[in-house]
Symmetry: none
Subunit: 197 residues, 4 copies
Amino acid sequence: MPKLGMGPVRRRQLVDATITSIHEFGLADATVTRIAKKAGVSPGIVHHYFADKDELLFESMRLMLKNLRSQAVARLTKAHTPHERISAIIDASFAPEQFSPKVTTAWLALYASAPQSKNLTRILTLYHHRLRSNLIYNLKQISPSANHVQLAEAISALIDGLYLRGALNPSLYKTTSPKTIVSDFVQSALTKGGQYV
Amino acid sequence: MPKLGMGPVRRRQLVDATITSIHEFGLADATVTRIAKKAGVSPGIVHHYFADKDELLFESMRLMLKNLRSQAVARLTKAHTPHERISAIIDASFAPEQFSPKVTTAWLALYASAPQSKNLTRILTLYHHRLRSNLIYNLKQISPSANHVQLAEAISALIDGLYLRGALNPSLYKTTSPKTIVSDFVQSALTKGGQYV
Amino acid sequence: MPKLGMGPVRRRQLVDATITSIHEFGLADATVTRIAKKAGVSPGIVHHYFADKDELLFESMRLMLKNLRSQAVARLTKAHTPHERISAIIDASFAPEQFSPKVTTAWLALYASAPQSKNLTRILTLYHHRLRSNLIYNLKQISPSANHVQLAEAISALIDGLYLRGALNPSLYKTTSPKTIVSDFVQSALTKGGQYV
Amino acid sequence: MPKLGMGPVRRRQLVDATITSIHEFGLADATVTRIAKKAGVSPGIVHHYFADKDELLFESMRLMLKNLRSQAVARLTKAHTPHERISAIIDASFAPEQFSPKVTTAWLALYASAPQSKNLTRILTLYHHRLRSNLIYNLKQISPSANHVQLAEAISALIDGLYLRGALNPSLYKTTSPKTIVSDFVQSALTKGGQYV
DNA sequence: AATGAATGAGCCTTCATTCAT
DNA sequence: TATGAATGAAGGCTCATTCAT
């Protein structure tokens, strides 16, 4: 009998190595050989667990989105009011495991290559849809009269923009908390006099 | 006798072809040969006008940022109040020539590869600094007590986030105007009760 | 306790799977993994029964030649005249088990790779020698004056040529019987007036 | 201006190197790098002139068939009787430039891989058709009552078989002329008493 | 005996870059 | 200035073979 059940272990190792390699070398130089070396395996084994490099990249993006979602779900179970739930969603995006240079760089690189990949576009769109629904649902309960669609889009774009800029300049949000930026924005928007109320 | 002054013309042709190619094929498949063909020249000539491919990519990003800046400058000369100047800056980012699928895709692709390029990081950082100064300067005049740094960062991130999402989904902002999203955000922030006031 | 006598069974399974795989995928794509899968075993076990892939291919060719010979021997025991014995040899080559697309394709592929393999060349040459001796021996008894060497070579080449063409076009000999082609050729050659008489 | 008109020259060089390499190393080991080295060029240039390796192999087969046809055409223009034309066709196949170890080995290797290649199957079938038509046309004039279809097939198969065996054993036809083998067969077949008359 | 995970060499192909013309 | 032929270094991927279990 050979070593059994190596599949999930190896797949996870390789996906981790992929994210790290993209951060370290950039997407263009994150070669299969380089990724394999970082995972401590031979280049050949990669294609034992992934059909091709595209699948490996896709799974890496998928893991990042899944982690993001896990963070959100964990926080949402502890939230009891619409306001808390909005905060939970925002906080999840800036949890230290997600909003780290390693992850934001890889996230941005894969995001940027999505227009050329049906699969990447698909899961990103799916993630966007879920986030949007979630936001809209809670926003409605806070302020029935607001333009929920526009506000949800604004929150989402703001989060993405902070990721984008964080990827370029890892020290940018050492002083200013990105979480605060989003929270304050939501607060402003929903305050009397705010355009979204 | 050689054609005179072909330099600037050719360089511009090639930079345009680069942006178009990145949009059309993606950064990874925007090869020198492909770009040259789109520009209607031979692959060899590219290295006559650009030291290497990196320089060509760098110049492409630089042109996009320069165009963005030109748009802003043109609008700023017609603006007379701080509010108008803030609007001018925002409007510039969403001028049709800039906020088109062709440009946003290329912009995002190059942005995402910036962490691996000192030059790209440098001009992007420079652009960020300018935008930030400009925003802060005008915000101060509108509301002396606001957290100008944070607000400027929020506006910038929101704009970048809208670019990012526009690149993935070109039809996203057919209904909701991205310009309105940013304007409304600024309005909320500066309205009494907003966190930024 | 280990299963006893699995050796010959497994070897035969693998050789059969090899022939089928060559027919189905071509020699170049008849990989060890593919062959193993067709035999219903794991890739690793192949090297338990065969030193390397070359040996597996060699044994496959050897089996085909052995089957050809078995067919001939079976028919020769029932033949009583030189003419019958010549016919027996020819008929053996076109027995349905041999002259099937599966076998002719594999036979041709291995034949074509023989120039690069000492072992393949050796058994093919051995087979040729035996066939030739057998033909010459019987031809001598039919017509002492004929050019037996040339005639034997002609018959052999004609049979091989029919295999070759049958491999390319499996439906070629649906109407014209290849056996008849050879028989008629022999008849012509040995008839008064024929160049071989 | 670059070196112009290198296309045809390089293509021919590479096709020649392919045939030689197949003879020397076998089809499986006739790698692009090996072929390029034999042609005295870099591996990269191969794909400048051929879409992929398959096209290179295809063109190699095509050249061999074209040469075969050229030989036949040249001889046919000097032939004046049906008998002479049949001889011309046969002689063409055994012209020293064609019936050399180098060519027969490559011819056999590519022939054997034809079942996996639509293109190879197509040109081989086309060649077969032409040869067959040509033979049948002339056989009809010699002997109106013969079974022309079967005889043409027999002649074709005999020629192919001699190529096949010549590829395995280059010294086989040093003593016995393959041309004589075919000629004598035709003679026998068309002589009174022969089965084909 | 048997598995399938793992290796590493090598293949086809692509591509930035150079160079002769 | 301009061409496109040519180079050579990778890159993704495949595969015979080995090995721990």
